[in-house]
């Protein structure tokens, strides 16, 4: 039963990723696109963790942690760029 | 003691996170965690501003539990508002006058506000006396401000003793 539930959850998260993609393409301003990208990072962490559960391997965790950190840093850098016009002042 | 461990709380967090990351309590890992937890705070001391120290750890633990519960409630509330009719939403900005101007309590308050029911902290004034907050559904301005001050600012002020 767990396998089936994991697949359903993968479908839900995949749908969420598609909605984020819609906002990423549609998004009237740059900020909407950054927000969509940030949400995409979070959803892909969930997808990787689900994949780890599906294959029963705890190794996927490291990838999820890396995505979490890169996601935060890149969002912060992009916001900084919009605020100051420069990342490294 | 003070010279060896300039930031005991940071030391504790580093120690725990290192063990969590390695997911083991083997003697070697504990030794490595202890070394890192002592060395990193010592090396980064010049980078840190002085913060008010935590006076009441029990109150802080209770605050964290209350915050976690509020996060769950706020998520359900926001989910209902997001899925419901959008015409009924009345977004708005409010200003919260702050009683404390220390960096750490204001940061913690702003983070708590961002994580809880329908509010996101937008900006804080330069002298840290006013916090600008965006509310997803603003029905009663005075009531929202009073709730935030009573529920989050009061325990934060109390636990840092300022």
């Amino acid at each position: 039963m767990l396998t089936l539930i994991i697949l359903i959850c993968c479908a839900l998260v995949g749908l969420a990723l598609l909605l984020n993609l819609y906002r990423l393409i549609q998004g009237p301003s740059v900020l909407d696109r950054i927000l969509a990208l940030d949400t995409m990072y979070i959803n892909s962490i969930a997808l990787i963790v689900l994949l780890g559960l599906f294959f029963g391997s705890p190794l996927y965790f490291e990838g999820a942690l890396l995505i979490a950190m890169l996601g935060f840093v890149s969002t912060a850098a992009l916001c900084k760029y919009l605020l100051r016009g420069d990342i490294i002042e | 003691m003070k010279r060896l461990l300039p930031h005991p709380f940071l030391t504790l967090i580093l120690f725990v996170v290192w063990l969590l990351l390695n997911n083991s309590i083997a003697p070697g890992q504990i030794l490595l965690a202890a070394i890192l937890a002592v060395v990193i705070p010592k090396l980064t001391t010049p980078l840190q501003k002085t913060h008010p120290t935590l006076r009441k750890p029990v109150l802080a633990a209770r605050y964290v539990l209350m915050l976690l519960w509020d996060i769950v409630l706020s998520n359900v509330e926001v989910a209902i508002q997001v899925l419901g009719p959008l015409r009924k939403l009345n977004p708005g900005f409010i200003v919260i006058p702050l009683d404390t101007t220390e960096h750490l309590p204001v940061t913690l308050l702003a983070s708590s506000i961002s994580l809880t029911p329908g509010t996101v902290s937008v900006e804080v004034s330069k002298d840290r006396r006013h916090l600008y907050v965006h509310v997803l559904n603003l029905d009663d301005e005075a009531k929202t401000i009073a709730t935030i001050k009573q529920r989050y600012e009061k325990p934060l002020k109390e636990m840092f003793g300022c």
Binding site: D32, L82 | A79, L83, L89, S111, G118, E123
Partner: protein, 120 residues
């Protein structure tokens, strides 16, 4: 793994995924940037928390020994979500992203942008 833990894992996984989906629906559906900011910062935090705790429980019972390292990601996301939201909101003020027309006290954005105290 016994039936009870399996049910708990299933419930947490479904709850987490549904909240992630709700957060993304909010992102796609809400009318202006400031309201859009609410959905991902909140719903996604709880959603990812649910999925990660489910994984935590699953591997604790599946493998021998406790597996708690998923809590690190949960903690990390709980700390960084408000910071991301704050930086995005700050950038939105700086870019003069227009709030929705019926937003109350929309004039506050002018003083908030310059980090001044509100004029009253």
């Amino acid at each position: 793994m016994n039936a009870v833990t399996e049910w708990i894992v299933v419930a947490l996984l479904l709850l987490g995924s549904i909240f992630l989906l709700v957060g993304s629906i909010g992102l796609a559906r809400l009318p202006d940037f400031f309201t859009r900011l609410h959905a991902p910062t909140k719903a996604s935090t709880l959603g990812i928390g649910g999925v990660l705790i489910a994984s935590c429980i699953y591997f604790s019972f599946d493998q021998n020994g406790l597996s708690v390292k998923e809590l690190v990601i949960t903690l990390f996301l709980l700390i960084t979500a408000p910071i991301t939201a704050h930086m995005l909101a700050k950038a939105a003020l700086h870019q003069d992203s227009p709030p929705l027309e019926r937003t109350r006290n929309a004039d506050l954005t002018a003083t908030a942008k310059d980090r001044e105290n509100p004029t009253q």
